[in-house]
């Protein structure tokens, strides 16, 4: 069994969000980077669990990003995985990124490709589906549970108001979310081992870029709380009706 886990670099959840270049670029100065939590906590940890259950499993990680992605790739390797591949590209277009991953996946002949359900910065939710399409493989999104039974995948996914259980043959692409696994902390041995695991860098393949960001906007500042005196219920009703428009 060969598993490929897609690892993306995202800003820490507490990072200050600001934009530069006329609101077309994310201002990266001083930002702390983390592994996209959906990639780390669910996709990667579940893949590690599968490898723990079957030690013959080969687990590779792939990242599409610049050299500044390497600390988070090393951290992913500290958690688990045999080797990582970084496609040296700063392209932020989902189709281009998916094309890079598909090229790596094709070469590696993987049985399973895991992604997070989305990244916490661009929230595109599109990589898994695009990779599956480019490789002509089945795709199951938003998985909360993944098991292998007799060489087939049994995947539970969340749907409105309940759950759906799917079965699929391998090879397969799955996007993962909360429920797949529990967050892990790399241990000292893992951290020490990460340094010597292979981290291969490859140049991107030629691929189209289909989208570009025209501009970013911050959400409008939240209005302050209005305090209505207790002896003026009429004013409260008026505000709820005319301003908040909830009644």
């Amino acid at each position: 069994m060969k598993i490929l886990v897609c690892i993306s670099k995202t800003p820490d959840t507490t990072a200050k969000i600001a934009f530069s270049d006329n609101n077309t670029k994310f201002a990266e100065a001083g930002v702390q980077w983390i592994i996209n939590p959906y990639d780390e906590w669910y996709a990667l940890v579940r893949a590690i669990e599968l490898k723990e259950a079957d030690p013959s499993t080969v687990l590779h990680l792939v990242n599409v990003g610049g050299a500044d992605s390497e600390p988070i790739i090393r951290k992913a390797l500290a958690l688990g995985g045999d080797e990582a591949i970084r496609v040296n590209s700063d392209n932020a277009d989902s189709f281009n990124i998916a094309s890079q991953i598909a090229a790596i996946a094709k070469d590696g002949a993987y049985d399973l490709i895991f992604t997070g359900k989305e990244t916490i910065d661009y929230n595109g939710s599109s990589i898994g589906g695009m990779v599956a399409e480019l490789l002509d493989l089945p795709y199951i999104s938003h998985a909360v549970k993944f098991d292998l039974e007799g060489g087939k995948a049994v995947v539970v996914r969340e749907i409105e108001g309940g759950e759906e259980t799917d079965k699929a043959a391998l090879p397969l692409v799955v996007s993962c979310q909360k429920g797949m696994a529990e967050q892990r902390i790399p241990n000292m041995k893992g951290i020490m081992g990460a340094r010597t695991k292979p981290l291969k860098v490859t140049e991107p393949v030629a691929a189209e870029t289909l989208t570009a960001v025209a501009s970013f906007d911050l959400p409008p500042a939240k209005a302050g709380v209005k305090l209505v005196p207790a002896d003026n219920p009429e004013e409260l009703v008026r505000l709820l009706h005319e301003e908040a428009r909830v009644i």
Partner: protein, 597 residues
């Protein structure tokens, strides 16, 4: 075991920073941590956030079995074995990495204390002084946390005066056991530890170490102490009543217990500084967050200058303390490598390295514990009435901080040691204090140097450091000459000199770090420069005050006048607007909503 390559050619000896100039380029700084070290530190914080802090109330209530189980988890994580060689189930990491573990776990309140005691005084005596059999028997289990370690040195009537212990050990008639009698107190982890390093006097006068296991006949323990802080840390008394300790559990040599007791403390002092700074960073972040959300007079209190001053001062002291801590850690790391290369075995190499920098370890212990105390005290102040409530974490941080100025040698003992060790080294010819001191006293008689100013970057600051060192050499040199043997009875003067040394060592460490950052062309180091200048600006005044107190205490007449003039000259600094600098530091803390450096 260092994973970092280094040249030892420029390695200063312990205390030599006082008489020699250090190069910024050769100075190790936290910016030099490698990727692995950064990951280790981050992992420690993750461990605290996911495993320890969510149950901190239960830890403080001493929930049965909770602390030992967390230590087992820490062991699985590899956090207990960083400084233990791989062949004994440890991870064999370099000294800087193991120090980073102490710092990383420093914000864990009582848990941090339990781990530090276990990995330090609970494990190291056996690791460094044990026989091969003793190491094989105990260390692998201590490395994983299967067994917990503790250390029994203090007795009801011998604390700082450790060698005044009353506990006795007598060899049994059949020669198979030592029979221990006595009592030990304030034993951290005592309530659940499996293995204890205990000191007693063989035949009434030979101070000796022993490894005692829980369950040895005649060994019992008292109830948990009710303490002001670190309430979740187990602290009990140990009783030995004709306790039978097998002769093979003698640790080191009979009569050589003091070597174990004191050598282990050097490392412990540096590690205490690391843990204190880790705790200080967390307490400052908690306080910044509070100041940003608490509104009074229709604005966040973080916007008030009085609060900004306190927040900035906290960041200044942490950053400067950290600069001194890792500068020293690297010296120890390098010295360890040097000694191992010279054929010393692993244990002698690290102990020798720590002993070489024992002065700096004492300085770090004092400063680290006082930085933490300052930050938690002002943290409570900024929290106002809420800070006095158990509902807020800062209240726990305040209570838990206080012990740090007491254990691992009180700060008074460590101040005395700082000067005492310097003078002893000078007398042994290891540290040439007299030559430079004579030079300074000659300079006093000559025309003052009005020297050209501002040659190159940081020239003024470098000169201030050189001058402050002269102030120390002048004061200490004259005190030794004048008081000779009676100086040891003038503890007030020794405290003054220690305070001067602490200030200068830290100020210099901060300046070197800033210079290294600037040389590297790092962007946005203006905050670090502000930090260094604020510290230096205060250090000059503190050195002046301590120097004046000392000089006035032992000198008189013309000599006194001349020295006071010299002191004034050596502690001269250009006017500096520290208010604006602190505001810039505080504004950045407020914008980041945390200690961010």
């Amino acid at each position: 075991m260092s994973t970092t390559t280094s040249t030892t050619a420029n390695l200063l000896k312990g205390g030599e920073w006082l008489i020699k100039e250090s190069s910024a380029f050769d100075t190790y700084t936290p910016e030099d941590f490698n990727e692995e070290q950064k990951m280790v530190k981050e992992m420690c914080l993750q461990f605290l956030n996911s495993e320890v802090l969510p149950v901190i109330d239960r830890i403080d209530k001493m929930e049965e079995g909770l602390m030992p189980s967390l230590m087992v988890k820490a062991g699985e994580q590899g956090l207990l074995g960083a400084s233990i060689p791989e062949e004994l189930n440890g991870l064999g990491k370099d000294f800087i990495t193991s120090t980073l573990v102490n710092e990383g776990l420093g914000g864990g309140y009582s848990f941090s204390v339990a781990v530090a005691a276990h990995t330090g005084i609970g494990t190291l005596p056996i690791l460094y002084f044990g026989t091969e059999e003793q190491k094989q028997k105990y260390i692998p289990k201590l490395a994983t946390g299967e067994w917990k370690g503790a250390y029994g040195l203090t007795e009801p009537n011998s604390g700082s005066d450790a060698l005044g212990a009353k506990s006795t050990a007598v060899l049994s008639e059949d020669g198979k056991h030592y029979i221990l009698n006595g009592q030990k107190c304030w034993i951290t982890n005592g309530g659940f530890a499996d293995v204890y390093t205990v000191f007693a006097k063989v035949d009434g006068d030979k101070f000796t170490g022993f490894i005692v296991e829980r369950g040895f006949e005649g060994f019992t323990q008292g109830p948990e102490e009710h303490k002001m802080g670190i309430k979740g840390s187990s602290t009990v008394q140990l009783y030995f009543q004709d306790c039978k300790v097998p002769v093979e559990n003698l640790l080191g040599e009979v009569g050589k217990g003091h070597i174990i007791a004191f050598n282990i403390l050097n490392i412990g002092r540096l590690k205490l500084c690391a843990a204190a700074l880790g705790g200080a960073k967390m307490a400052l972040t908690t306080t910044v967050e509070y100041a940003n959300t608490r509104e009074q007079f229709k604005t966040a209190i973080a916007n008030f200058g009085a609060i900004k001053h306190k927040l900035a001062e906290g960041a200044i002291r942490i950053w400067v303390g950290e600069s001194a801590l890792y500068r020293t850690s690297k010296w120890i790391d390098d010295k360890e490598v040097e000694l191992q290369a010279a054929g010393k075995p692993f244990n002698e190499a690290l102990l020798g390295a720590a002993e070489e920098f024992a002065i700096e370890c004492a300085i770090l212990k004092v400063d680290g514990s006082e930085v933490l105390d300052f930050i938690v005290d002002e943290g409570v102040q900024i929290h106002g009435g809420n800070g006095f409530s158990d509902e807020y974490m800062i209240s726990r941080a305040y209570r838990d901080s206080r012990i740090n100025r007491i254990y691992e040698g009180t700060n008074e003992i460590n101040r005395l040691l700082t000067v005492d060790m310097m003078l002893k080294r000078a007398m042994k010819g290891k540290l040439d204090l007299m030559g430079p001191a004579m030079k300074v006293s000659k300079e006093l008689m000559s025309i003052p140097d009005f020297g050209s100013e501002d040659e190159g970057a940081f020239a003024a600051e470098l000169k201030t450091i050189v001058n402050m060192k002269k102030a120390i050499l002048m004061t200490a040199g004259a005190a030794v000459q004048k008081l000779m043997m009676s100086l040891s009875n003038e503890q007030e003067i020794l405290m003054n000199i220690a305070d001067m040394a602490i200030q200068v060592f830290h100020a210099e460490s901060a300046l070197l770090r800033v210079m290294k950052l600037a040389y590297k062309g790092e962007e946005a180091v203006s905050i670090q420069i502000d930090i260094m200048r604020c510290y230096l600006n205060d250090a000059v005044d503190k050195v002046n005050k301590a120097g004046k107190e000392a000089i006035n205490a032992f000198a008189d007449g013309d000599e006194q006048r001349m020295m006071l003039l010299g002191l004034k000259r050596f502690t001269k600094a250009a006017p500096f607007n520290s208010k604006d600098a602190r505001r810039r530091i505080a504004d950045k803390l407020i914008a980041e909503n945390k200690y961010f450096l």
